[in-house]
């Protein structure tokens, strides 16, 4: 990876940073909107689960204990992951966390053949939906890190040989 990053052009790096910011923005605003909406709960969404593990997700919805933990967890995780991606701090962990959440959403509502959900999708999906696309975009963020170029991590001088090499290129 180190050797590859040496060959990243400015436009490639810019594209990666923009991708990181936009995903971060999306995550953070999803969380902020849910924080503002005092009535928001994952309850209805989870109840509509289908696919491989509907029982697991429905149980989470109907169990007061898990739902009481899950609702604030989802809201704050979205906000913190989003901000982390935007400001470039602990981005690696944020990407992994974000991918975990997207996997959770995808597993609860997989767009397989014959699976119709109460809330209609805004597009047409087969196996992969927007959650899956964002999941793989995050994989790109994870394997092509940019926080050491633009971000708090870069500011704190947590430069490793990799970033120094990139600087040398620049």
């Amino acid at each position: 990876m180190k050797s590859e990053s040496q060959h990243q052009s400015l436009i490639q790096i810019t594209a990666l940073i923009l991708l990181r910011w936009i995903i971060g923005w999306h995550f953070a605003y999803e969380g902020i909107a849910k924080l503002f909406d005092s009535n928001w709960s994952a309850y209805f969404y989870l109840l509509d689960s289908k696919g491989w593990f509907p029982g697991f997700f429905i149980n989470m919805a109907t169990n007061p204990f898990t739902l009481a933990i899950l609702d604030p967890f989802i809201k704050w995780s979205l906000v913190l992951i989003g901000l982390s991606l935007i400001i470039g701090f602990l981005t690696r962990y944020a990407s992994i966390g974000a991918m975990g959440m997207l996997l959770f959403f995808w597993l609860s509502h997989p767009p397989f053949i014959g699976m119709e959900y109460a809330l209609p999708a805004e597009g047409h999906y087969l196996v992969f939906d927007k959650n899956s696309v964002e999941f793989f975009a995050l994989l790109v963020i994870l394997v092509f890190p940019t926080e050491h170029i633009i971000g708090i991590q870069a500011m704190l001088g947590q430069r490793d040989t990799q970033s120094e090499e990139v600087e040398n290129v620049q």
Binding site: A33, F36, N39, I87, I152, L156
Partner: protein, 515 residues
């Protein structure tokens, strides 16, 4: 490598701040937009509602109430289960079902049912196995899972003896409709409080007799329209009647759609049932004589001699909801039609049924239609000059495009007439004006559940509790004799119209039903 933060490093970090800042500013602007929209809606309609918290007496310190139950079949045992009484066999059955199906929460709900400080002193059923099961269930106040050491509660072979028993304060009546009137009247005479299942009576004449007897006695009477306990109905009443959120309501559509044998009253007949364990003579004592028939005994809703058809069984649920929300009372006229279109059994009652209830003074019509051979969900819809409400255990209110009341807000783009402006989801503590699209969607489609966040909203439990609270505090519960009388007269007007093929009128001066 130096650990010192250089100016260049600082810029690399600060470069992210405009992005984070824009997000913050954008989020606040969007929130401000929502708030303004919500405030403009709240300015038109006061959304504050205090009816969610009912101060109730503390059961632990209040006097224990001694009950008897008459009719321990399908509905009777459901009522007992709802208030925390079941035989160990029933408890094990629902536990096993819950273990097999994670979505089946009956066991959890049953075990979590709070105690009402009641005890059962007598049970009565004409079918021996039902009575025997109820004797054990009634004794199982501790929700035990094994039978040992449970002393069965006394069984009264005759309902009159149970009503007369000195150690019984109140009776739950969950028998076929043809027995309701004589039991309620008998209980009223003996000063016993009554919780009776709907329809309140089988005939129109009985409705007058029951009303007079209950009023004269001063007992606490509750009719079993347990849906009165939905928060959504209470909130809708405040919004529709007091705050006129819909403008003037002129048309209401209510529906029943079922497409199962159970829904069409073809109840299972127990294999061991027969002449030897059914008291048939007592069964027909309150109606027309007939030869012994297992179908008539267990599927009594199919015959006019015992039941009240779709009008008494299902229209009453819809009517009582509307009566709760809008105080409509008895209609000025009812015209009903329908027929036996689908089922080829010996039933006398229709399986497709329509009724038009007209209210001249209120200037509104209630249209009810039902099919027992189609399961399509059709929302209960209240249509007013300014908005439309779809009401179940949640509701949505969508503003009418040509509303005058909301005209300014529509013009300013603050109200979208394509989507609900107000919504309420079960379990929520307030009416929502800014909820997410998904929640609105679920509330609008009626894809909502009787519990939320694991909190069971067992309406039967709440309804029985309201009755017990009322009799402890010498008050009248929500579905008292007046509401029961209105329910029964309305149902019988519809049945009479259907059976005689004529429009039926209610004469307000004489309080009589005329053709």
């Amino acid at each position: 490598m130096s650990n010192k933060i250089t100016r260049r490093d600082l810029l690399k970090g600060l470069a992210t701040f405009p992005v984070a800042g824009s997000l913050l500013v954008g989020s606040l602007q969007k929130e401000k937009y929502y708030r303004e929209k919500a405030n403009s809606l709240s300015r038109i309609i006061d959304l504050n509602f205090s009816g969610f918290n009912h101060p109730l007496p503390d059961e632990k310190t209040s006097k224990k109430i001694r009950l008897g139950i008459i009719g321990c079949g399908l509905r009777g045992s459901m009522i007992m289960n709802s208030i925390g009484f079941a035989s160990p066999d029933e408890i094990l059955d629902i536990r096993e079902a819950s273990m097999k199906d994670k979505n089946d929460k009956r066991y959890e709900f049953f075990m979590n049912t709070e105690r009402l400080n009641i005890e059962f002193k007598g049970v009565c059923d004409l079918f021996d196995p039902y009575a025997e099961r109820a004797m054990i269930a009634a004794a199982n106040s501790d929700k035990r899972h094994i039978k040992s050491n449970l002393t069965p509660v006394k069984r009264y072979p005759n309902c009159k003896d149970l009503i007369a028993a000195e150690d019984i304060d109140g009776v739950i009546i969950a028998t076929p409709d043809h027995w309701h009137a004589s039991m309620i009247i008998e209980a009223a005479k003996k000063g016993k409080h009554v919780y009776a299942e709907k329809c309140m009576t089988r005939t129109l004449e009985e409705a007058y007799k029951v009303k007079n007897a209950v009023e004269a006695s001063g007992i606490t009477f509750q009719l079993g329209h347990q849906n009165r306990q939905f928060d959504s109905y209470n909130l809708a009443r405040d919004l529709v009647t007091n705050k006129e959120i819909l403008g003037r309501v002129n048309l209401i559509q209510c529906n029943t759609n079922r497409n199962t044998e159970q829904g069409a009253w073809i109840y299972p007949i127990p294999e061991n049932a027969g002449r030897h364990n059914i008291d048939w003579e007592q069964f027909i004592a309150a109606t027309e004589p007939a030869d012994f028939s297992l179908e008539r005994f267990f599927r009594w809703r199919l015959w006019w001699d015992y039941g009240t058809g779709l009008a008494g069984d299902m229209l009453t649920h819809e009517y009582d909801c509307i009566n709760q929300v809008l105080n409509v009372g008895i209609p000025d006229s009812v015209q009903a039609s329908g027929g036996i279109y689908h089922f080829r059994d010996d039933r006398e009652v229709p399986d497709v049924f329509n009724a038009l209830l007209e209210y001249r003074e209120k200037k509104l019509t209630l249209m009810y239609s039902a099919s027992l051979a189609n399961g399509k969900y059709r929302p209960r819809t209240l249509m007013g000059t300014d908005a439309t409400m779809e009401l179940s255990n949640g509701f949505t209110v969508t503003i009418d495009t040509h509303s005058q009341k909301y005209g300014d807000q529509i013009e300013q783009g603050l109200i979208d007439t394509e989507h609900p402006a107000y919504s309420y989801s079960p379990g929520s503590e307030k009416v929502d004006t800014i909820t997410s699209a998904s929640t609105k969607y679920f509330a609008q489609r009626g894809l909502i559940y009787t519990y939320r966040q694991g909190k069971a909203l067992d309406t039967t439990y709440l309804h029985v509790k309201e009755w017990l609270d009322a009799l402890r505090t010498h008050n009248q519960p929500s579905c008292n004799i007046h509401r029961g009388f209105e329910e029964a007269v309305t149902a019988h007007m519809a049945t009479r119209s259907y059976r005689e093929g004529k429009k039926v009128f209610f004469d307000r001066d004489s309080e009589k039903v005329v053709l």
